[in-house]
Symmetry: C2
Subunit: 356 residues, 2 copies
């Protein structure tokens, strides 16, 4: 399992449309087996039976053979949390599942979770603004599985799910945006109001109930019922495109009016990331944001999205502890974090990297 | 004249006893010519006459032949201010002197000012705690000049000076101390009270009436009358030794209790000095102080006092403008400053300097 956190998931490798503003696009589909209780209501035997049934089906599918299977029981708490930090599995699967498991494609773009809140959660996560592509990927595996599994489906409601907020399409689509200019200029507040009015949920980096830090904002659909999957995806994609335009315009204004200060902030972030000896998680996320903005505005050329995404993941508590090979308390993590950050920043090759 | 600011004065080269805490020791002697009005009361012709008399004497002295002569009239405002920033001449000579001039020894440790507040001000400035040595140097040139010049001297009061605060010995001795640990721990306040009680004056980096910034404190004698020169020097030297011990003890406590945070602060300062694009004079002085502390505590090995002293001088407004070769307003200076700082920090040779 330890090799996981050293691997750059496909979304971490960067690229994709509008990747200067959109870090990743994610789609997940919730599905349940007919004639099996939802995991939260099921007995131990029932969840085991659901797992067996799904396992049998998966093992027969050529396209899923290359997927790596992980039983949650076989993973340490740290390993589970690191998978959440990489956005590969849900916090719920990590913290609270009976006979939970997941299948992970080699590029880590597709995860199929078993016995999470629902029997099946099929997730696709891609870099940049690729909601349609992520939907196509997830849908493809959903179709494959549906050929062999009887899904709980109601003609009136659609796909049935453990929580009523997922019923219908069972589809949750979300994007992770980096909005430093809108946040610094205060335009974010109007945006948040507007997004909520059109039925979208806004969250911080760590999901539900978390504050916005490092100028990272997750936007997702709330409504899963009464719209087709394509409508949900296209609606979200259209709104996100508008947000992208607003952020681009806010960045241009910032660049026109205070170029030196923005450059200064970005370069200082690089200096601190390379030289500090003690860095909290929150400060690191903010510094990475400042550095990302400098890169995206063409003010700093010596980093790239791949490196920035790697930093964003490895500074988190569980990844950090896995890298260190031992449990670390908060103070110890604040000392370990800058060591790991320097490793990544120095790996780039000195002459190219150090100074412009 | 422009070559001056690129030259490291002897005090800037570092070294000397207790140089981890004492940046420099300075002694200046005020002398006036008998039968010549003090410069502030003198007519143009009279100050010119005093200058001529002193000039004639100096030109005959073998030991002073190598000294460079500068008439204040021949210097630009920036050049005068840069000399003040290097502590080679007094602010008064720079700003307000008729027929003012000075002689400067090649190592810039000895300056002999003419027509400042007094006809003659003989200054010696050395690195580290070298009050006796500075006194010996200044006294030597005083003796030389006294052989050929009639000094205004009163059997009861001693040497007569334009300002009564200098009368008697005409001696002002001062040291520039770096006291980060006493300032951070708050012990400085008790010290300031104690110093004032024993008749010493405490000032900031820029002299009289300036605030303490960058943890730099100037301590000097106030009393010039009723004590011999040796008493003044030994008294100040003794008290400064006690301050040095207190600062050493405060640093040790800091190192024992919060080593990681002190290291962090110093390394962050290095990171910011190497990467920031906009730096105010005040911030630069503070960062240089943080970096100096890291070096003096053995936490950072890639800088030295010579480099730190050079930084401390070149970040100041006039030196910065002379280096740039043109006048700069405050905003322009804040952009020029980091460029010059990087030049100095990168000059060290990359492999040795960049990272530990």
């Amino acid at each position: 399992m330890k090799q996981l956190q050293f691997k750059l998931s496909r979304w971490m490798q960067g690229g994709g449309p509008d990747s200067d503003i959109i870090i990743s696009s994610r789609v997940r589909i919730a599905r349940n087996l007919k004639e099996h209780s939802f995991p939260c209501l099921a007995s131990d035997q029932e969840t085991e039976a659901a797992m067996s049934k799904i396992g049998a089906v998966v093992s027969e599918m050529a396209e899923l053979k290359s997927f790596k299977y992980w039983s949650m029981d076989a993973l340490s708490e740290l390993e589970k949390k690191a998978l959440v930090e990489k956005h590969l599995i849900s916090p719920m699967l990590a913290s609270n599942s009976k006979h939970g498991a997941f299948y992970l494609r080699a590029d880590e773009a597709i995860s199929i979770m078993v016995n999470e809140e629902d029997h099946l959660r099929i997730q696709a996560i891609l870099p940049g603004l690729q909601l349609s592509e992520a939907w196509a990927e997830a849908s493809h595996f959903d179709d494959l599985l549906e050929q062999k599994l009887d899904y709980a489906f109601d003609d009136h409601y659609g796909y049935l799910t453990a929580c009523p907020t997922n019923i219908g399409t069972g589809l949750r689509a979300s994007v992770m945006l980096h909005l430093p200019a809108m946040i610094m200029s205060g335009q974010i507040n109007r945006l948040l109001g507007a997004l909520s009015q059109v039925g979208l949920a806004v969250r911080g980096l760590y999901g539900e109930g978390t504050e916005i830090i490092g100028n990272l904002v997750q936007v997702s659909n709330q409504v899963t019922l009464g719209q087709s999957e394509d409508e949900i995806i296209n609606n979200l994609q259209g709104i996100i495109r508008q947000v992208v335009e607003q952020e681009q315009s806010a960045r241009q204004t910032m660049l026109d009016k205070q170029r030196a200060n923005i450059a200064d902030k970005s370069w200082r972030a690089l200096g601190l990331l390379k030289y500090a000896q003690v860095i909290s998680s929150q400060e690191a996320i903010q510094l990475i944001s400042d550095l990302r903005l400098g890169y995206d505005l063409g003010l700093i050329k010596s980093v790239d999205h791949r490196l920035l995404n790697e930093l964003l993941v490895l500074i988190r508590p569980a990844c950090l502890q896995l890298l260190a090979g031992r449990e670390l308390n908060e103070n110890e993590r604040d000392l370990e974090r800058p060591v790991r950050i320097k490793e990544v920043l120095n790996r780039q090759g000195n002459t190219n990297f150090i100074e412009d």
